[in-house]
Amino acid sequence: MSVLVQESPFSVDSQLRILLASNRGAGLVTFTGYLRDFSEAGAIEALELEHYPGMTERVLEELGALAARRFGLRGWRIVHRYGRIEEQDPIVWVGVLADHRHEAFSGCQFIMDTLKTKAPFWKKEFMRDGRVVWVQSKLDDTEREQAWQEDVYE
């Protein structure tokens, strides 16, 4: 199992150690997503992430396996939190190992771009001014995800 979906904060260092304990590769690319302190809606105090338990883990497992086949990855790990996220906490961490750096970059970016629109998470922003806003999905994110699909047939 290379997927961890949990409510409590996680340590990037520990997650990296778990990935490296079972896999080696010449190139490692990681992405860490932090709570943005500002969005289109204004200054953000905290975030609440709802998810679909069961489906989330399945989607992420399948996504990691797909990325591994497509980019020839040596190893991968996806960690995502749910629940309430306070400022400066990491929300998501993706690490991938490959023999060549280009595959590692592509694999990590593919996982992130796809996760954004395919993993059943929903973000609710708690604004500093007291408003509570569900984050809208971005056309930009959908386009990035679809670009990877077209890429398959190139």
């Binding site: 992430l49 709802e50 489906m55 995502h80 629109t117 395919k118 993993a119 059943p120 929903w122 569900w134």
Partner: protein
């Protein structure tokens, strides 16, 4: 029986997380289930379940609304995902 689940702003609009719904022979597809839910729930449910971009999942996989249903299935309704 079908298990029906709602997430995010659809859950909030319906004030409902999960329902058990009797599966009958006339309920062939996800579309049929939606018609039945709106029949029971009324306008508030119509508005929530027919808003643009609603995503439909059957047994934790995204499907089209013409996907066939069978007894024991889990169906979920939610807005576009915003992970990461």
């Amino acid at each position: 029986m079908l298990t029906v689940r709602f997430f995010s702003l659809i859950r909030e609009a319906l004030d409902c997380e999960e329902l058990q719904v009797e599966h009958n022979a006339a309920m062939l597809t996800v579309d049929d289930l939606k018609v039945s839910l709106v029949g029971t729930g009324g306008d508030q449910w119509r508005e929530a379940l027919y808003q643009p971009n609603v995503v439909h999942a059957l047994n934790q996989r995204v499907v089209n609304t013409d996907h066939p249903l069978k007894d024991g299935d889990e169906v979920a309704f939610f807005p576009p995902m915003t992970g990461g």
